[in-house]
Symmetry: none
Subunit: 159 residues, 2 copies
Amino acid sequence: MASAVAADSRSTFSIDRILGLDLDPAGNCLNLHRPWTEKENRGNSLCFIQQHPHPHPHPHPHPQLTHRPTSNWYVGRRPRTAFTNSQVSVLETVFQVNCYPGIQLREQLAGRLDLDEDRIQIWFQNRRAKLRRSLRETRLRLVQTAVADLGVIGDESHR
Amino acid sequence: MASAVAADSRSTFSIDRILGLDLDPAGNCLNLHRPWTEKENRGNSLCFIQQHPHPHPHPHPHPQLTHRPTSNWYVGRRPRTAFTNSQVSVLETVFQVNCYPGIQLREQLAGRLDLDEDRIQIWFQNRRAKLRRSLRETRLRLVQTAVADLGVIGDESHR
DNA sequence: TTTTAATATAATGCC
DNA sequence: GGCATTATATTAAT
């Protein structure tokens, strides 16, 4: 018990020790503390696997690749979805009433609009960000106006 | 209780209901779910006065406002910390060795990297979540491949 | 150039 | 601590 508690402060886990460690290409190392990679994941260090997070076969007509990889970083990026006007119209209307739709409503929308639920989710996230952005800008303008007014007042007092 | 849970699925938030609503030009409406525009945002909403998300060289000046959830909204959400490449580099290296650093090691890292210990804590939590996510997706792909292979075998047996 | 879908990740809240 | 979700920042396609 005591040893376990003390382990963290001992030299084995000091930063200097850690940064000095030699890890093999697979990232394997003594004292490795990563319970879920033990056994079944041996041989491949999955830490930095950067494949596209959507293994998700898209039902819609789909160009598998929209843009040339060149550097294979964003090869797996989902092709940009083009919402129709009527889809956006419905989404905007719903947004007016509830900008945090729960899973049920999102599924309902997905079915109605023939979109995947995660597209709906993303749309609402981006829509909220857009609203916040506009609110910020409005506020900024208000502040700037206020400051400008103060400036005018200041000038007047100096006149 | 039950009503709150059921709210999303009840008629009030059904698409049909929503699309049938009459919203005034300002978009005001009963059941409006947009926390940050309610009430206190008339005039000055400090919600977003967090200023420039970027200009902080580093989170030394602490926004000691943790969150103040008035309803569902964080009044004083901590400004997003932007770790430098070298900070992340060190964190990743440590993570390779110990993805559950104890308080001692976290403090050590905090001192070394000029960050608060709780930022380190959060970073490791998010990093573990990322790893778990990638492992899940890898497993999912493996299962899908296996299923596909079974499908091929099935076809062959029918040939 | 502007808008916005997609992505990555820091921060929160609930268990 | 895990997990789901959100806010935020950035990138890339239009």
